[in-house]
C-alpha cells in the first residue's frame, strides 16, 4: 500500500512496487493532465510537484513518494478560478497543440510559489528542461514575464 496526498486528497493505493508515478496518477487516479512524452526524463511533459518541488513522474517510482504531497495540473484551479499561471498562458494563447503545457505549467507554478516576480532569466532556467515542438516558447515566456510584472 502506498499513501499519497494528491491535489490535497489523501489516497491509500494498492500499487505494487516498480510502477512509475505517471501511471499511478494517470491510470489509477485518472489525472490525465500528466503527459507521457519520452519516459526518459528528457522532455518535461510529465512534470508534477512533490512537496512543492518539480519532479519528473515518468521514471520515478510510486513507492518513493510515500506520504508526500503531489500536485498535478488538475489541482491548480480553485473554486472554478484558474491559477494565475494558467490565466497567464490562456490570456496570451500561449500554446499550439498543448501537449507540453501541463509540465510547463507545473514548473511555472513551482517557480512563482518560490518567487513572486522571477526575472526573465529565472523563467527561462525554470523551463529549460521542457521541450515544445510547436515553437510556442516565445509566447509562453511572454505570458510568464507579464505575470512576473515585466512589460
Amino acid at each position: 500500500m502506498v499513501d499519497l496526498i494528491v491535489n490535497g486528497t489523501p489516497h491509500t493505493l494498492d500499487i505494487p512496487d516498480g510502477v512509475p508515478l505517471i501511471f499511478t496518477l494517470r491510470n489509477t487516479l485518472g489525472l490525465k493532465s500528466v503527459k507521457l512524452g519520452c519516459a526518459l526524463e528528457q522532455c518535461g511533459a510529465c512534470k508534477v510537484l512533490a512537496d512543492g518541488e518539480p519532479v519528473l513522474s515518468c521514471v520515478a517510482l510510486t513507492e518513493s513518494f510515500k506520504g508526500r504531497r503531489i500536485e498535478t495540473l488538475e489541482g491548480l484551479e480553485r473554486d472554478a478560478v484558474l491559477h494565475p499561471v494558467q490565466s497567464a498562458l490562456l490570456g496570451e494563447n500561449a500554446a499550439q497543440c498543448g501537449y507540453c503545457l501541463s509540465g510547463i505549467l507545473m514548473a511555472a507554478k513551482a517557480l512563482f510559489d518560490r518567487t513572486a516576480a522571477p526575472s526573465g532569466a529565472e523563467i527561462r532556467e525554470a523551463l529549460d528542461d521542457h521541450l515544445c515542438r510547436c515553437g510556442a516558447q516565445p509566447r509562453i515566456l511572454r505570458a510568464l514575464e507579464r505575470l512576473a510584472g515585466h512589460g
Partner: protein, 715 residues
C-alpha cells in the same frame, strides 16, 4: 457567380456541414482536423460570422469517416482555404433557407430581415423567430449546387478580429483531450516491439519468456510484427521489454550510409523534370543561355534528413466487434487511413470507421497512421475490448518517416548593372509524399511490411503536380529574363521519408535566399535593395518593406559576440502566404555557437480570419525552423537510425529561443491564404544570411552547428 469551393463540390449535402440543434446551438462539421494549428477556432469564427450567432453557440464536431465532409487530408496549409471557404458558403445557404422560412412566418420580405444571435426579425418590430424555431432539430435536405452571395467582409465582427481559442481552456485545465488520454470501459493497453532497424526480420521468438505473466491479455506474433496487450499500461511496458528479449532478429541487409549525401543524391537520380511556373513537365531539359559579359556565380546547398519529432509518442485506440473496426487516431488523413487499414486487414472499406482524436503537433506525416494499424492488429485479437497503443520515444524517433535530405545547385549570371539575367536551380531529393495510399499496390504502413502476409512498400514515384514535394518553392519569387528550374527525383532513400512541414520549400527557399545574398555581394549591392530590383509582385515588395521597417525600429543589442542580421523571403508554394523574415544572430567566435536573438516576421495571408492564430503559426514555424536550421540532422549507421531520443536528436530549448515580433498585412477583400508553413524556408535562409553578415562565413549545408561553421570557414 463564383465557382463552388472544391470541398463543397465533393460534399454538396448541406447537412454534412451544418446542423441546427433542437435548442440554442449549432453543430458544424469539417473534414479538417485540429493539429495545433487552431483550425477549430478559425472555423467557429467563420460559421458564427456568416450565421450571425455568438461563437459560443457553435460547436465543431470531431471528424469521423463516413459522417464528416470528406476533405481527404489536413495538409499543405489548406485548412482555412479549403474548409473555411466551403463552410462559409454552406452557412450562407443555411442562413438563406432559414431566413426564407422566417419571412413566411413573419409575413415580411426576406430583404427586410436581420439576424441577431440567431433571432430573426425586422429591426424595430417586436416579433422575432429564431433559427431554432424554424429549423431546430430538422435536417435541411438540400444539395448545394451554386454559390450564393456571402456576408460582406465590411460587416465582419469576428473574422479578422479573432475569437477566443476554442480548444485551449480544456488543455490549460489538463482535461483528457488527446487520444493518449482516452478512457473507455474495459480499455486495454498495448505496446509494439519493432525490429532493431528497417532491414531486420524475426528469426526466432521464445514465447516461454512471457509465460506466467498474468497481466498478458494477448501476445501477437505475426511474421516480424510483435505486440503485447495487457490490463494495465505499466504491465504492457514490462511485457514489451520481455517480448523484446524473447525476439532474435536477423539482418537481411545493411543500411546504406552515404559518405556524402549530396553526392549520393546526384548519383542516384531517377528522373529529371523541367519546372515552369511551379509545374514539372516530362520534357527535354532547358539549357541556360547566359548573355555575354555577365558574371557567372554557382553554389550548392544541402539539408539532411529532418525529423517531425512530435512531443507525444504516436498513439491510437481500436475496437473490433467481430464485424466492424473503429479506430481513434490523430492521423491528418483519416479518409485515406480508413481504406488503407481495411486493405491490410482484408476488410471492406465500409467496415472501418476512423474517428479523429487529437495528438500532439505532427507537422506533417509522422507515425500517426502506422500506430493506427498496430492498434487495429491488437484489437482484432481481442474482440469487444478497446485497445490503446502508444509507441515508445525510441520507436517514434526511429520509425517515423523523415523529411528527406535534399541538395540544390544554383547558378546565376549577373550583368554589369547588377541584375540577374539568367537563373538556374537544380534540386535533388527523395519523395516527400509517403502517406497512406490505399489505391496503390502495397502499403505505406510499417506493420504491413512486417506481417507474415506482408505488403511491399509503395514504390516512390515523382509527383508532377504544381508545387508538390521536391520542387515546392523551387520556382523563384523573383523575375529574371531566363529562369531554368529542374526537379531531380531520387527513388531509393536509405531512410523512410514523407511530408514534413513545408516539404521541399524549406531547403529550396534556404538555397534561393542564401544565394540572393551571395549574388548581392557579387553585385556590390545591399541584399534588400538587390531583392527589390528583382521582385515585381507588389505584395512581396510590401512584406519586405514591412519587415525591414520593423527590424529598423529595434536597435542592435550590444554584444561581445559577432552579431549580424539576415533576411529571407518567399511566397509559400508561390500561391499562398507571403512571408519575409529577418533574424539577428550572435556568433561566439571561440565556440562557433550560433544563437538567434531576435526574429521579425512580416506576412500577408490575404483575408485574415484569426489574426492571433496566424501569428502563432508563423512564429511557431519560425522557431521550429530555427531548430531544424541550427541543430537538427537524423543520424544513422549500417545497423539503423542512431537518433533515437532527445539526447541524440537535440532540438531548440527555452534558453535558446529568440524574441519574435510579427506583423500581418491584412487584405480583407482578398482570398485567405494558408500560412502554417510560410516561415520555414525564409527563417532558415535568414539565419544563414545573418551568420554570413556577422562572420563573413557562408554556410551552405544545414544544420548550422559549430562543426559545420568551422568546416565552412576553412572551405
Amino acid at each position: 457567380m463564383a465557382e463552388l469551393p472544391a470541398s463543397l463540390k465533393r460534399n454538396p449535402d448541406l447537412d454534412r456541414w451544418v446542423q441546427i440543434e433542437p435548442r440554442d446551438a449549432i453543430v458544424i462539421r469539417t473534414g479538417k482536423v485540429e493539429i495545433g494549428q487552431g483550425i477549430l477556432t478559425a472555423l467557429t469564427a467563420i460559421a458564427a460570422e456568416e450565421l450571425d450567432v455568438l461563437p459560443a453557440r457553435v460547436r465543431v464536431e470531431t471528424a469521423v469517416t463516413g459522417r464528416s465532409p470528406n476533405e481527404l487530408i489536413t495538409a499543405g496549409s489548406m485548412s482555412v482555404e479549403d474548409s473555411g471557404s466551403a463552410l462559409r458558403q454552406a452557412c450562407a445557404h443555411a442562413r438563406r433557407i432559414m431566413l426564407e422560412r422566417a419571412a413566411v412566418d413573419l409575413g415580411v420580405e426576406v430583404a427586410a430581415l436581420r439576424v441577431v444571435d440567431g433571432e430573426i426579425g425586422v429591426p424595430g418590430a417586436n416579433r422575432t423567430v429564431s433559427y431554432w424555431d424554424v429549423q431546430g432539430g430538422r435536417p435541411f435536405g438540400v444539395k448545394i449546387e451554386e454559390c450564393i452571395s456571402e456576408k460582406s467582409p465590411d460587416r465582419y465582427r469576428l473574422v479578422g478580429k479573432g475569437i477566443a481559442r476554442v480548444d485551449l481552456p480544456a488543455k490549460i485545465r489538463g482535461e483528457a483531450v488527446f487520444v493518449h488520454d482516452l478512457a473507455m470501459p474495459g480499455l486495454l493497453h498495448a505496446r509494439v516491439v519493432r525490429p532493431p532497424g528497417y532491414h531486420y526480420r524475426l528469426g526466432a521468438f521464445d514465447r516461454t519468456r512471457l509465460d506466467g505473466d498474468e497481466a498478458l491479455a494477448a501476445l501477437i506474433v505475426d511474421g516480424s510484427f510483435i505486440a503485447v496487450v495487457a490490463e494495465d499500461e505499466h504491465a504492457a511496458i514490462r511485457l514489451m521489454e520481455r517480448a523484446a528479449r524473447a525476439a532474435s532478429w536477423r539482418q537481411i541487409a545493411a543500411l546504406e550510409v552515404p559518405e556524402q549525401m549530396s553526392e549520393f543524391l546526384r548519383a542516384h537520380e531517377a528522373g529529371a523534370y523541367p519546372v515552369v511556373d511551379g509545374v514539372p513537365r516530362e520534357a527535354p531539359l532547358p539549357v541556360l543561355q547566359p548573355p555575354n559579359g555577365s558574371t557567372a556565380v554557382r553554389a550548392s546547398y544541402a539539408r539532411p534528413y529532418v525529423m517531425h519529432a512530435s512531443l507525444a509518442p504516436s498513439a491510437a485506440a481500436a475496437l473490433w466487434d467481430g464485424g466492424r473496426l473503429t479506430v481513434w487516431s490523430h492521423s491528418q488523413g483519416i479518409e485515406l487511413l480508413a481504406p488503407t487499414l481495411a486493405k491490410v486487414l482484408g476488410m471492406g472499406a465500409a467496415q472501418v470507421t476512423v474517428v479523429h482524436a487529437q495528438g500532439a503537433g505532427a507537422y506533417g506525416h509522422n507515425g500517426a497512421d502506422d500506430v493506427a494499424l498496430d492498434a487495429a492488429l491488437c484489437a482484432r485479437a481481442l474482440p469487444g475490448r478497446p485497445v490503446l497503443l502508444k509507441w515508445t520515444r525510441q520507436q517514434e524517433h526511429q520509425w517515423e518517416p523523415y523529411g528527406p535530405a535534399m541538395c540544390i545547385d544554383l547558378e546565376a549570371h549577373v550583368d554589369a548593372n547588377g541584375r540577374v539575367q539568367a537563373w538556374s536551380h537544380d534540386v535533388w531529393s527523395f519523395t516527400h509524399v509517403g502517406r497512406p495510399m490505399p489505391f496503390h499496390e502495397g502499403s505505406e504502413l510499417v506493420a504491413a511490411w512486417h506481417l507474415e502476409k506482408s505488403f511491399a512498400r509503395v514504390p516512390p514515384a515523382p509527383r508532377l503536380g504544381p508545387e508538390v514535394g521536391i520542387h515546392r518553392n523551387a520556382w523563384p519569387l523573383y523575375r529574371f529574363p531566363q529562369t531554368r528550374v529542374v526537379k531531380r527525383f531520387v527513388k531509393d532513400s536509405p531512410l523512410r521519408t514523407s511530408s514534413l512541414r513545408g516539404l521541399g520549400a524549406h531547403a529550396n527557399v534556404f538555397a534561393i535566399e542564401s544565394f540572393m545574398d551571395e549574388l548581392a555581394m557579387v553585385a556590390s549591392a545591399d541584399p534588400i535593395e538587390f531583392r527589390m530590383r528583382h521582385v515585381e509582385d507588389p505584395r512581396a515588395r510590401d512584406v519586405i518593406e514591412r519587415v525591414v521597417a520593423m527590424a529598423q525600429r529595434d536597435a542592435a543589442v550590444p554584444s561581445p559576440c559577432a552579431s549580424g542580421r539576415g533576411i529571407g523571403v518567399a511566397r509559400y508554394k508561390n500561391q499562398q502566404c507571403y512571408a519575409a523574415v529577418i533574424v539577428e544572430v550572435d556568433v561566439d567566435l571561440a565556440s562557433a555557437q550560433i544563437r538567434a536573438k531576435r526574429v521579425w516576421i512580416a506576412a500577408d495571408a490575404g483575408r485574415v480570419v484569426d489574426p492571433d492564430g496566424i501569428v502563432n503559426q508563423l512564429e511557431g514555424g519560425a522557431v521550429q525552423s530555427l531548430s531544424w536550421t541550427l541543430k537538427e540532422a537524423v543520424t544513422f549507421d549500417r545497423d539503423g537510425v542512431t537518433s533515437v531520443d532527445w539526447d541524440s536528436y537535440p532540438i531548440l530549448r527555452f534558453s535558446e529561443v529568440p524574441i519574435v515580433t510579427t506583423e500581418l498585412i491584412d487584405r480583407p477583400h482578398m482570398r485567405s491564404l494558408g500560412a502554417g508553413e510560410a516561415t520555414q524556408g525564409p527563417t532558415a535562409a535568414a539565419v544563414a544570411n545573418a551568420v554570413a553578415a556577422a562572420t563573413g562565413i557562408r554556410v551552405r549545408s544545414l544544420p548550422l552547428t559549430p562543426a559545420q561553421l568551422r568546416v565552412s570557414a576553412s572551405g
